[in-house]
C-alpha cells in the first residue's frame, strides 16, 4: 500500500481558505491495479467535515491537474453546535460556495449526495427560511444521488400511500416506499405527542421523542429542491451494486455503491424466504395502521364523544395508580415506535466507497446493520472494505451503525501512529440521541474508545466555535 501524506487541520470560519500545500511529495502514490489510465486521475482530495452540530455535511474536492470536481455529501442539522450563531447553516453554505468557486469567479458544485431523507442530512437543502438550499441550487450540481426509495417514479400516489390494500402479495417497491411515507406521517403524530403534558414524560424523554419525531418529518422543501436539482441535471437513484452516476464527473476515481439494498437484495440474504411476502405485508400494514392511528386521533376529541367521562382532575382514587401507569406506558410505546421508524429510515442510506490513487474512502450515511448486511454478504465487497483508509463513522457514532463484522475487516487499524493508519471522522453532537443509562447514547462511548484506540479519530464536536470544519488533505 502506498504511503500517503495526510495533512489535517481545523479551518477557521473567518478567513478565506487558501489551498494548503502538502508538506512534501517525496513518495508519489503507487498505482493500484484497479486504477484506470494513469495520469487522468486526481492528484489530491480535500475533505471538509463541517460542524453542523447533530447532522452530516461533507465536501469532497477532487483536484485534477487542470480542474477541480466537488461533491457534497449531505447537508443537514437538527441541533446546532454548542455556542453556534443563529446563521451557522448559512455560514456553512457560504463556505461551501467559496470552496466551489473557480478562478473565473463561478461556483461549481458537481454532485450532491443526499444519503437519506432524515432532516439531519438534508435540512440544508431546504429553500425555506434563510434559503440555504438556494445557495446550493445556484451552484447547479449536475448530479443528485439519492437512494432508490426516493425515485419519483417509484413513489406511490397520495391515495395509495394512505389507503393501499395490502393483499399479502409479493414485496413491492411501492408498498415499501408507502411504508416510509407512513413513518413520516407517524413521526408527525409522535412529535406532536411529545408535547402532551398528560403523558408525564420527563423533560429528557420528551425532548428525545420530539427530536426523533422532528428528524423524521417529511422535510418537504428539501426533498423538492433535491428533486428539482436532479431534474435540471441528472438524478441517480441508487441501490447496492448500481452505478453511482459519478463516472463522468470523477475520471480516474471508482465509486462503488454498497447500499442500500433494494427489496430483492434484502430478500436474497434472508433465510426465511417463504415468509417474506407475509412478513412484508405485516410490515407495510403495520405502518399504515400506525400512521392512520397517529393522524386520525385529534387529541382534543375522545373516541366516544357522547359517552360520559370523568373530569381530568376528578379521577377516582382507586384508579389513579393505573391511570398514571397507562400514561407512562404510552410514552414508552411512542418512544419505541419513533426509534424503530428512525432506524428504518436510516437503513435507506446510500453507502459510497470511493477508490482513488490507491486509497479508499467510505461514506455510509446513517446505514445500520440491516442495510450493511447485504454488502457484508458479498465476498468481493468485503475484500474492498479491507483497505479502507478513511471511514466516515456511520450514524453519528451510534452503536449499531458500525457493525463489528465491518470494523473487523478494516486492515489499516493500528494502535500506534503509522503512515497508513486508518482515519475515522464522525459528525456528531452528544446528548441528543439515546441515553447513557441504556447504553445507546450517540456517540457511543465504547465505540469511540475503540475508534480512538485503533485509528486517527476526529469528532466535529471537538471543533471550536471559530472553526467551521475539519479539513483533511490527501495526496493521491
Amino acid at each position: 500500500m502506498a504511503k500517503i501524506q495526510v495533512k489535517k487541520s481545523a479551518v477557521t470560519a473567518a478567513k478565506k481558505v487558501t489551498a494548503k500545500k502538502a508538506a512534501s511529495k517525496k513518495t508519489p502514490a503507487k498505482k493500484v491495479a484497479a486504477k484506470p489510465a494513469a495520469g487522468k486521475g486526481p492528484v489530491k482530495l480535500t475533505l471538509r467535515a463541517y460542524n453542523v452540530g447533530f447532522g452530516d455535511c461533507f465536501l469532497l474536492t477532487f483536484e485534477y491537474p487542470k480542474f477541480k470536481r466537488r461533491i457534497l455529501i449531505d447537508y443537514g442539522s437538527t441541533a446546532a453546535p454548542k455556542n453556534a450563531d443563529d446563521d451557522y447553516m448559512m455560514a456553512i453554505a457560504k463556505d461551501i460556495e467559496a470552496q466551489c468557486t473557480d478562478a473565473d469567479g463561478v461556483a461549481r458544485l458537481d454532485a450532491v449526495v443526499a444519503t437519506h431523507r432524515h432532516r439531519d442530512h438534508i435540512s440544508g437543502f431546504s429553500t425555506e427560511g434563510d434559503n440555504t438550499g438556494g445557495v446550493i441550487a445556484r451552484m447547479n450540481p449536475g448530479l443528485v444521488i439519492q437512494p432508490w426509495t426516493e425515485d419519483p417514479e417509484a413513489q406511490p400516489k397520495a391515495d395509495e400511500a394512505t389507503a393501499t390494500t395490502f393483499t399479502g402479495g409479493k414485496p413491492d417497491a411501492k408498498a415499501f416506499i408507502a411504508s416510509l411515507h407512513n413513518m413520516n406521517r407517524m413521526a408527525g403524530a409522535i412529535a406532536e405527542a411529545s408535547r402532551d403534558e398528560h403523558l408525564g414524560l420527563s423533560t429528557k424523554m420528551a425532548s428525545q421523542m420530539g427530536f426523533l419525531g422532528d428528524n423524521n418529518l417529511p422535510n418537504k422543501s428539501a426533498v423538492v429542491n433535491l428533486m428539482e436539482m436532479g431534474k435540471k441535471g441528472r438524478a441517480a437513484y441508487v441501490n447496492a451494486g448500481s452505478k453511482s452516476g459519478l463516472e463522468p464527473v470523477l475520471p480516474g476515481v471508482t465509486v462503488h455503491v454498497l447500499g442500500p439494498p433494494n427489496l430483492k437484495q434484502t430478500q436474497s440474504i434472508k433465510k426465511e424466504k417463504d415468509r417474506d411476502a407475509n412478513e412484508f405485508w405485516q410490515f407495510a400494514a403495520f405502518w399504515q395502521f400506525q400512521a392512520a392511528a397517529g393522524e386520525s386521533v385529534d387529541l382534543k376529541v375522545p373516541l366516544f364523544p357522547a359517552a360520559e367521562a370523568h373530569e381530568v382532575h376528578a379521577i377516582p382514587a382507586n384508579v389513579r395508580w393505573f391511570v398514571g401507569r397507562a400514561q407512562k406506558i404510552r410514552g414508552e410505546q411512542l418512544m419505541e415506535l419513533v426509534r424503530s421508524l428512525d432506524t428504518a429510515m436510516n437503513n435507506t442510506s446510500v453507502i459510497l466507497l470511493f477508490q482513488v490513487g490507491g486509497k479508499s474512502f467510505l461514506f455510509p450515511g446513517d446505514a445500520q446493520i440491516e442495510n450493511w448486511q447485504f454488502a457484508l454478504s458479498q465476498e468481493p465487497v468485503k475484500e474492498m472494505l479491507k483497505s479502507v483508509d478513511v471511514y466516515k463513522v456511520g450514524h453519528h457514532g451510534s452503536l449499531n451503525a458500525t457493525p463489528k463484522s465491518l470494523w473487523a475487516l478494516f486492515e489499516h487499524k493500528h494502535e500506534t501512529p503509522a503512515p497508513d493508519r486508518l482515519t475515522t471522522v464522525v459528525s456528531t453532537k452528544p446528548g441528543k440521541h439515546g441515553s447513557v443509562q441504556s447504553h445507546t447514547e450517540v456517540p457511543r462511548s465504547t465505540l469511540v474508545a475503540e475508534l480512538q484506540k485503533e485509528s486517527e479519530y476526529f469528532s466535529t464536536q471537538d471543533l471550536l466555535k471559530s472553526q467551521i470544519c475539519k479539513e483533511y488533505e490527501f495526496e493521491l
Binding site: H198, Q282, F286, A292, E308, Q327, N400, P403
Partner: protein, 588 residues
Amino acid sequence: MPYYPSRKITIIAQDPSIQVGGKIVRTQIEIPNEELEPGPRGYRVQVVDYDSTTNTLYKTVPRPPNHSDDLPADPFATMTDAQLLASPDFHAMNVYAIVMRTLSRFEFALGRRVAWSFQGHQIQVAPHAFADANAFYSPDDQALMFGYFPKVKTKGYVFGCLAHDVIAHETTHALLDGLRERFTDPSSPEQAGFHEGFADIVAILSVFSMRDVVAKVLDPTGRRVMMNASNVTLKALRESILTGLAEQFGEELSGIRGNALRRSVTLLPGQDYLHDPEFEEPHRRGEVLVAAIINVFLEVWVARMQPYIHPDKTLDRKRAVEEGAEVADHLLTICVRAIDYCPPTDLEFCDFASALLTSDWEMYPKDLKYRFREQLYKSFNAYGIVPTSKGEREPGTWDPPPQGDKDHRVVYDRTHFEEMKCDYDEVFRFIWENRRAFKLSEEAYTRVQSVRPCVRVGDDGFTLRETVVEYIQQLTIRASELKRLKIEKPEGMPKDLQVTLYGGNAMIFDQYGRLKYNVGNSIFNAERQSRRMKYLWQYGFFKPGASKMRRFASMHRKRMSGWGQAGGAAVADWTAHEEQVEQPQECD
C-alpha cells in the same frame, strides 16, 4: 334469595369482521356471576376505561347494574351491531367477559384457583388504552392493554377489546406467567417461542369452542341445514378455515397480532421444521407447536364426524358444528392442564408433548371417545416434536418416578402429606430428605416455588385429586467450573464469567400423598445445559445488563414492525461492542 353462580352475557364471537348475512357473529357465554362495581370491576378483573392518547377516563357502568346476587339480564343481546360498536359500556363488558371466561377455563382445567403472575388478585384491563395497533400484557403494570386504530379502507375503528382471540391471547400470557414464572427466562428459542405459541393455541381453541364461529366456518351463509361429506375432509376444513375465517382475521387485526390462525393451517405436517434454520427464530418455532395442535384438532374433528355421515354422503351441519366446538373445548382443557405436568425451567416442545399426553392419560386413561392421544402422538411426531419420554405405559407419556436406587429409596415417612398440601417448608423437607434419591445438586440453591392442590373434573364427571409442586435449583458458578459438570463452555466465554444454571421439577402427588410424577430438567443434564449455554452466549444474554426477556409489549411489536430488521446472528454481531442484546426502554 337464590344465589346464581354464573350468568350469561353476549359477546362478539370473534371480532366484528366475522359476519354472517351482514351481521356480526355474536354468542352468549357463561361467566361467573358476581356483584360488579362500575368499570366493570370484579373480584379478579377490573376494567378501567382510560384512553392515554386522548387523556379520557370514561365513566363506564355495567347496565343494568347488578348490585346483588340476582341473575342479571343480558342487556346487550337486543342491541343492534351499530349500537354495540358505539357503546363503550359494551366494549368494557365484552373484554371483561372474555378475560373472565379465559380465567375460568384455566381454573376449570387445572381444578383450582389460578393466580395472576403478579402480587394482587385483580388484573387491570384498559379496553381503549391508546390509539395504536397494539395490545399486550404488562406484568409491571398488572394490566392488559388493548389499543384501537382507524380502519384504513372504510370508516370506523378496529378495536383490540372486541377481538376474542386477542383478548384470550393476552390473558393467557398473564396466566401462564403466573403458573410458570421461569418460562420467560432466557433459555432456548423453544422456551422463548412457547409463550407466544401457547397463547395462540389457547386463543384459537377458545374461538373454535364457540359454536357460532364453527358454524360460520362450515357455512358462511348461515342458511344451510345439511352439508356435503366432501366438506369434512382434513383438506377441505383447512381450506374453509382459511377462506372462512383466517382471511378476515388478517384483514383487520394483523396489525395487532399477525395471523396465527392462517399460519397454523398452512404449516402442513410431515416436515422437519425444528431442524430447519428458518425455524430458529422463536416466533416461527412457536408456530410449529400451534400447527401441531391445530392439526390434532382437525384430525379428531374429522374422525368424530364420520359416524354422522348419511349413506347419501350428507351430514347434519349442526351436528358437525357441535362436534367441532366440543373437540376444541376438550383440547383446550388438556392443553391448559398440561402446564402442570411441564418442567418448571428450560421448557422445550418435546417436554410439553409428554406433559400433554400425560395430562390426557390421567383424565381419560381409556381414551375411547376422542382418541386424542393417538392423534397427538402422531401429530407431534409429524411436526418433528418427539416427546421427551418414551412412555412405558403409553407412548410419549411421563413415566412414574423411580423409587430411588437400592441405597437411596424415596422416603415418605418423615413428612406429613396433609401438611404438604399447603406448607412449603414441609414440602421442602420432603425434597431435602430425598435429595439423593432425586439426584439433586447439593451445592445448588433449592427452593419450593409453588404447592397447589387441585381437584380436576373430566367430561364424564370423573374427578382427579392431585397436588402439584414446583421446585427449582439454581447454581451460580464460574465458566471454568462448567467442565467439572461436563458442560461445554461456549467458545470465547471468559473463564471467570459467572453463569447460572437452572434445574427444577414438577412433582405430582396423588390423593394419598404418593409421588406420581417427578418431571424436570436437572442441573446435571450436561447435554441440555451445554445447549442452553451455547445459545445464551451466542445471543449475548451473559453480557451485564442483558434484559430478562423482551417485554411482551415489544415482543408483539417486534413481530409486526420488524421486517428488514436484522436477525439474531447479526444482532449478536454488533453487540460484541456492546453490553446488551436488546435495546432497553428509556427510563429516567
